[in-house]
């Protein structure tokens, strides 16, 4: 437990904060949080943070409860696990999920936590973590798909003071940066994280100056209370007393030959409170896909779904936490035992959204989306230049791929997007000018989005033509199980990967690999998955289907899934369409199922090799 050193000892006086001041402070906090992003984006060097925005800011109250932020970390858990004093001017750094109560979930994420002092007392916390492109270890980008312990995943930094009362711990930083392949990037990114947290700190100090610290802290409590009250009302509105809802989904494999891993989440409301229970999920994985999650994070994910719908301008925060109990079984996929490998937890993070969507959507069709691009597939390429003015120089690319967003109540899922709202892709022109590669293709693949009244977004085929020898690594999923459709919508297509070698041969590549050698002239096709469809495809406007044929988003053949007959330019045959639709309607179940997950799992596994070119994974075994 951290000991917080404050020179001001008189307790703060709680004051009433009028609604106007409250809204002004809420607004200022929102601005401060976005300013943190801006500062980091502009100063980071690694493409992962800079171009793709793989970072998460947070501003906390004096106890570390989040008053504004995105999702993904928890200061109280961090402080609980930190031994030592915290003074004004201290800046803490860690990358060890096991010593901060899973405030972060793999060692690539470097987490900065900074107390915000005003008049000798802590008035809040600013915090931010970013994904470092490389943290050392056995493979470039430090995400070995075959790791079985965290020791294989590079440098693991215990919580320590990067700045001690304002003084940089230069030696410690030197030791850390000596472990990584990209020290300049990590140093710049770390600088950016600290600068962003300092910016937030300044903004909070300005608010304390302007409104007085009593008013500021009382306002935070009122904002937390606002969330508490809103959530309490919502829970009663949405969930029936005593009824248990459950939903299950899968991660296809763990990188070392086992899978699929079942992820199960249940919810029950009793009185004011709901319980979220992960019991029934698969045991801890042998490979690195475990998603070490803490209870507060689960509450946060739950909150995103519930509160934002009710008041889009609200700053959602930790205030509602007492209303949510969370059960996560030990030694499970969600709470693996030290020193389990953690690096590939990105699939689990994504799948949490499918789990919550599928679970909560059962109560309210307005919240029900299909399954979407719920992962962040990674692609890495590294090596040394062999020719030109950079001969001998090291290059290393870490990038995050995009796919199909699910069909949603409000409309179609976008094609080739990221699940994470603020992520953007790395421009192909940027990749080509900084790395020895040409992007031969970056295109959406027709028919990969699930058919539906609202079509699932299409996946993309990115074709990387390599110009220098090196190695590549891939992290992806949904190559085996399907992104499900809802309310009558069909599942989206699964992802695929292959290399067309310069000699004309084709090699199928599994979805989780490292250290695959590539040579000049080889072309990797990184094909991601489509989003599930939403609603009955036969209800989709036939002319819209025709238009999408013309735009190359759906094929002439694919249009038949919507019961639409058209030519290859998308001109619809109305008569033939009407009769095909009538026939299809007669030959299908009525009512349509809420969830369409594709064929049963046994069938998927039995046909695995034939359909995907890859052997079926073995059933997961308890590992601990």
């Amino acid at each position: 437990m951290a000991r917080l050193i404050e020179t001001a000892t008189t307790p703060l006086t709680p004051v009433d904060v009028d609604v106007v001041t409250l809204d002004i402070i809420e607004n200022a906090l929102r601005h401060a949080r976005y300013e943190m992003d801006e500062v980091l984006f502009r100063t980071a060097l690694s493409p992962g943070i800079r171009e793709q925005h793989d970072e998460f800011p947070l501003i906390g109250d004096p106890e570390g409860k989040m008053v504004v932020g995105q999702f993904g970390l928890s200061i109280p858990d961090f402080l609980e696990n930190f031994e030592g004093e915290i003074h004004e001017g201290d800046v803490l750094l860690t990358s060890d999920p096991y010593s901060c109560g899973a405030a972060i979930s793999h060692a690539n994420d470097w987490l900065i936590v900074m107390p915000i002092y005003f008049g000798g007392r802590i008035v809040g916390w600013s915090s931010m973590f970013g994904h470092m492109s490389d943290v050392g270890g056995k493979t470039p980008a430090s995400m070995p798909t075959d790791a079985k312990t965290i020791f294989e995943e590079g440098v693991v930094i215990p919580p320590f003071k990067l700045y001690n009362k304002g003084v940089l711990a230069e030696d410690s930083l030197r030791i850390i940066l000596n472990q990584v392949r990209t020290p300049d990037w990590n140093r710049a990114d770390l600088n950016g994280l600290v600068a962003a947290c300092r910016t937030a700190s300044r903004r909070i100090q300005e608010l304390c100056q302007r409104f007085g610290v009593d008013t500021y802290v009382s306002a935070l409590n009122a904002l937390l209370d606002r969330n508490y009250r809103a959530m309490k009302t919502l829970l009663e509105m949405v969930f029936k007393e005593g009824e248990t809802l459950s939903f299950e989904d899968y991660i296809c494999d763990d990188g070392v030959g086992y899978g699929p891993y079942k992820l199960r989440l249940s919810l029950t409301r009793q009185g004011d409170k709901v319980t979220l229970d992960f019991s029934g999920s698969s045991p801890q994985a042998k490979g690195p896909i475990n998603y070490f999650i803490n209870e507060n994070l689960v509450r946060m994910f739950f909150g995103i779904y519930m509160i934002t719908v009710a008041d889009p301008q609200i700053l959602w925060n930790d205030g509602f936490y007492p209303l949510v109990d969370v059960i996560i079984p030990d030694d499970s996929f969600w709470k693996p035992a030290y020193p389990a490998a953690l690096n590939a937890r990105n699939h689990g993070i994504g799948r949490v959204f499918d789990l919550f969507g599928g679970l909560l959507g059962q109560t309210n069709p307005d919240l029900l989306n299909a399954a979407g691009f719920s992962s962040s597939p990674h692609f890495m390429y590294s090596g040394n230049y062999t020719e030109g003015d950079r001969a001998g120089e090291w290059f290393q690319l870490y990038s995050i791929g995009f796919g199909g967003i699910p069909g949603r109540p409000i409309g179609d899922g976008p094609d080739g997007h990221s699940l994470w709202p603020s992520f953007v892709n790395i421009p192909c022109e940027y990749l080509e000018s900084y790395y020895p590669m040409r992007i031969e293709r970056w295109e959406t693949i027709a028919d990969t989005g699930g058919a539906g009244l609202h079509r699932g977004g299409n996946g993309v085929d990115v074709a990387y033509h390599f110009l220098e020898p090196g190695t590549i690594a891939i992290h992806d999923d949904r190559w085996l199980t399907y992104p499900w459709g809802v309310n009558g919508g069909e599942p989206g297509a699964r992802g695929r990967k292959w290399i067309d070698r310069a000699d004309g041969t084709r090699e199928i590549i599994p979805s989780k690999v490292i250290d695959v050698p590539v040579y000049p002239g080889d072309v990797l096709h990184f094909v991601t998955w489509g989003g599930g469809g939403w609603g009955d495809p036969l209800q989709r406007d036939a002319e819209l289907v025709g238009l999408e044929v013309r735009r190359g988003l759906v094929t002439q053949e694919g249009a038949r899934k919507y019961g639409v007959i058209c030519d290859d330019r998308g001109v619809v045959d109305q008569g033939a369409t009407a009769s095909l639709r009538a026939e299809m309607a007669r030959n299908r179940p009525n009512p349509l199922p809420i969830f369409n997950m594709g064929p049963p799992l046994e069938t998927i596994l039995a046909r695995c090799e034939e359909e995907t070119g890859l052997p079926a994974p073995k059933p997961p075994i308890a590992h601990v």
């Binding site: 809204d23 607004n27 801006e38 980071a44 300049d184 600068a195």
Partner: protein, 564 residues
């Protein structure tokens, strides 16, 4: 299409012209109205795009063509393509509009010409605007900022923030040394368009912004929904019932009972009814308290926008003045001055139509840019200088086309720099005289960049090499000969312009305020708040503890009494 340019501009796959023709014929059969062409790496070599344009001229005669290498010759395929498509999308309409306008305004026998205000605050010929509509997208907001430059200069202020508040939104910008800060990106709807424009930030806060209280959270929100002009605020009596910012201003007595010289009369009772709903939903003690809350929150939203262009760019707003205009700006200006500490608050004459002054007081401008990604180690002073001068020649051609002699061109250079590996560039002004062939030019750019980086982010990356990303030259013609008007001088006492006395609600109570007719104010008059100054297109509120002095150029300068 079968073709490929590499990242260094080399041709990897030659253009298959037959393929181009076949595809263009298909597009023709689809009845397209405009064509945009955006090929990968065309910023490094535009040959294939140019050739496609030539073929299109044969295959699709009369169809306007937008080339990405002309519209935005910069790295990043998505931004370049989107900007090119946006250009092509509006081109047919804008072109037609320009033709019609030009023929309507043409005076027989006169040599007068139609110019359009570009987003960056300079003028271009109507023809250029028709070909590159993406350059004039922010014409309106830029006009206001340029107009503010004109009046602020006369009032003796070179550094200021602008604050242009209308019915649905508020635009803000920062001007330093009479030069508006220029940005590269503009958001239109969901799209981010890249084209040089005055760095104007917009928030959805205006006179028509609707106040509401979500049932679940009972928070008081103002905007971004707006009642617009129809039905408009409840006070307009045109069927609007939702409480707006204007209604709150009416409740508090800040707006007279008639606007626009009697064109709109305001219904105080309807405004009170609308705002009373907010009082009930929030539990605030009175209608006046609810109205004050609405005003405080909308002011805070606009303050947020002003912070974006000042504090968040490393500028202290207290070092700037604040020029307020737009129909609703002068009403909120004094309050924004208090929040920002930017004094004096300058309210120019006819604040509702300031952008027209901007159009009339700026000159012709040409710009030429190019992406040139080079680490400083790969550059010399001479190489960069030659590239800059080549851009200058291209920029001058716009002015020469308008018959402006070379000796009247003002040439300015700017480069976008970053540390090698960063993804965000900082524009740095170039002193071309510093380029002595021995590296002093590059040195001055390094220094300029470091100063900006330090100001923006409070640190430097000492081990990283500087990198050039793109270069730009602008050529500006002389300002037109517009003489500034002076209003007659008078004494301190403004009572000659006093028209009535009214009650207004400030700081929690009703107080008496004098109302002045702006048209009758004389230079040197000093109006002590609380007071209201009315004119045809706007209303200025002077708060207690503040005073407004009338400048001979016609502007009102508001300051706190203790700064007298």
């Amino acid at each position: 299409m079968s073709e490929r340019i590499g990242s260094k501009g080399e041709v990897v796959t030659p253009l298959d012209e037959e393929d181009v023709r076949a595809k263009l014929r298909y597009l023709k059969s689809q009845g397209i109205q405009a064509l945009s062409v955006s090929l990968i790496n065309s910023y490094a070599n535009m040959a294939h795009e140019k050739r496609i344009a030539e073929i299109a001229a044969e295959e699709l005669p009369g169809i306007p063509v937008s080339l990405s290498s002309e519209v935005l010759p910069e790295i990043r395929e998505y931004e370049r393509a989107i900007t090119t498509v946006a250009n092509a999308y509006v081109q047919p309409q804008v072109s037609l509009y320009m033709d019609n306008l030009e023929s309507k305004v043409k005076v027989p026998g006169s040599s007068s010409k139609l110019y359009i205000l570009k987003s960056d605050g300079g003028l271009i010929s109507a023809r250029s605007a028709a070909e590159n509509p993406v350059w004039v997208m922010m014409s309106g907001p830029a006009g206001g900022v340029v107009g503010a430059v004109w009046f602020a200069e006369q009032a003796g202020h070179k550094d200021f923030l602008t604050f242009d508040m209308g019915g649905t939104s508020t635009d803000v910008a920062l001007v330093q040394g009479l030069q508006p800060r220029v940005g590269r990106e503009t958001t239109v709807g969901d799209l981010t368009i890249r084209a040089t424009s005055v760095d104007v930030r917009t928030v959805g806060a205006g006179g028509g912004s609707i106040a509401h209280v979500p049932a679940l959270t009972q928070a008081l929100r103002v905007g971004p929904q707006s009642a617009g002009a129809s039905p408009g605020p409840a006070a307009y009596g045109a069927g609007g019932t939702e409480p707006t910012v204007t209604d709150a201003n009416v409740v508090l007595g800040y707006l007279p009972s008639e606007l626009a010289g009697g064109e709109i009369s305001l219904d105080r009772e309807k405004a009170r009814e609308a705002v009373a709903a907010i009082m009930t939903a929030t539990g605030l003690p009175s209608v006046e308290a609810a109205a004050s809350g609405i005003i405080d929150i909308v002011n805070e939203n606009m303050f947020g926008a002003l912070r974006l262009v000042s504090v968040q760019q490393g500028f202290d707003p207290r070092d700037f003045a604040l020029v307020a205009f737009g129909g609703a700006g002068p009403l909120h200006a004094n309050a924004l001055g208090k929040l920002t500490g930017a004094w004096p608050v300058i309210v120019p004459p006819s604040p509702g139509v300031l952008c027209a002054y901007g159009d009339a007081t700026t000159g012709v401008r040409g710009e030429a840019a190019r992406t040139l990604v080079r680490r400083f180690g790969q550059l010399t002073d001479d190489v960069l200088k030659a590239e800059l001068l080549e851009r200058a020649e291209a920029a001058r051609s716009t002015l020469r086309d308008e018959g402006i002699p070379d000796d009247q061109h003002r040439i300015e250079f700017q480069v976008d720099l970053r540390y090698h590996g960063q993804g965000f560039e900082i524009p740095v002004n170039v002193e071309i005289e510093a380029f002595d062939g021995n590296g002093a030019g590059l040195d001055s750019l390094r220094k300029g960049f470091d100063a900006e980086h330090e100001r923006l982010f409070s640190f430097l990356l000492e081990k990283s090499e500087h990198e050039l990303v793109s270069i730009r030259a602008t050529a500006s013609g002389p300002r037109p000969n517009v003489t500034s008007s002076h209003i007659p001088a008078g004494r301190k006492d403004p009572s000659g312009a006093e028209s009535s006395t009214t009650e207004i609600f400030v700081d929690g109570s009703w107080v008496s305020a004098k109302v002045y007719d702006r048209a009758r104010l004389l230079a040197g008059n000093e109006i002590v708040g609380p007071a209201i100054i009315t004119e045809m297109d706007s209303t200025t509120l002077v708060l207690p503890e503040h005073f407004a002095s009338v400048h001979q150029s016609g502007s009102l300068l508001i300051r706190p009494i203790d700064q007298k």
